[in-house]
Subunit: 156 residues, 2 copies
């Protein structure tokens, strides 16, 4: 058991939690804002799927699978509440993304995790060696935890 | 830069975010539920401070500093909304707790992080070696991210 194993366990834990939210959320709540003027679970989960899909390119694994997610679940308030995927379509696409990531992660050594990701230059990485793939992974897990915490409030 | 360093960086990042929330939250919002029937930032931040304080005993560092937090910020709905500390008192106590933890963390080796915490027995740990201190730390960071995400919704 290494520190890296523990990080990957957390990644799995939060993906299982996201899956559980997708499985258990009621259809009538899926498109309802969690607070007045806030985002709906539909947007939040789409945004999380988009963020996960981007990891494929950020980590240099390959092309992202669903670039259309970025266009649907963008950050402009008002215009990003339409044309969302159905819960089933989103779940299918997200599962495919996580499957692709998990397969790549299994083959990555600790030194690969601690190497730079594709948006930091070699030169910058010398000065800021924390800008590695593992740091991005942990940031994505906490980002997911934060948004799943928001969805959990809807049922209060 | 090791995987453990990256985990500790995330711990620091989320403590800075919690500090920023404590510094920036308006007094009139501090005791206001984030959603109808939900928890207030006062309760959520008190609960996070209580959770951090418990790490001192869970990691075998020493006695917790503020056992009174557990009595104030407990989980019984209704009766746990009273007698909260002021924002300034809570901030002072939480800073003290994090200071104590950070000092201990600086001296901990990777093998200490990967050793069992105090609530798992030696026998169980042989079967479940992931029940180590680092795993608890990462769970506490995501727990903090989740509740800070909830507080962030109040201003929407």
């Amino acid at each position: 058991m290494t520190a890296l194993d523990i990080c990957l366990l957390q990644w799995g834990t939060y993906n299982r939690r996201m899956q559980k939210v997708m499985d258990s959320i009621k259809d009538e709540n899926f498109n309802k804002p969690t607070v007045p003027g806030g985002n709906s679970p539909s947007w939040l989960l789409g945004h999380l799927a988009d963020t996960d899909d981007k990891l494929l390119e950020l980590f240099g694994i390959g092309n992202r699978l669903h670039p259309e997610l970025e266009k649907i679940y963008h950050h402009e308030p008002g215009t990003n509440q339409n044309n969302h995927l159905s819960k089933m379509e989103l779940t299918t696409k997200w599962k495919e993304i996580v499957g692709e990531l998990d397969q790549a992660f299994k083959a990555m050594s600790e030194s690969e995790w601690l190497a730079r990701h594709t948006t930091v230059t070699e030169e910058d990485f010398k000065k800021e060696p924390h800008r590695n793939k593992l740091n991005v992974l942990l940031s994505r897990i906490t980002h997911k935890a934060s948004h799943l915490g928001q969805i959990a409030m809807q049922t209060k």
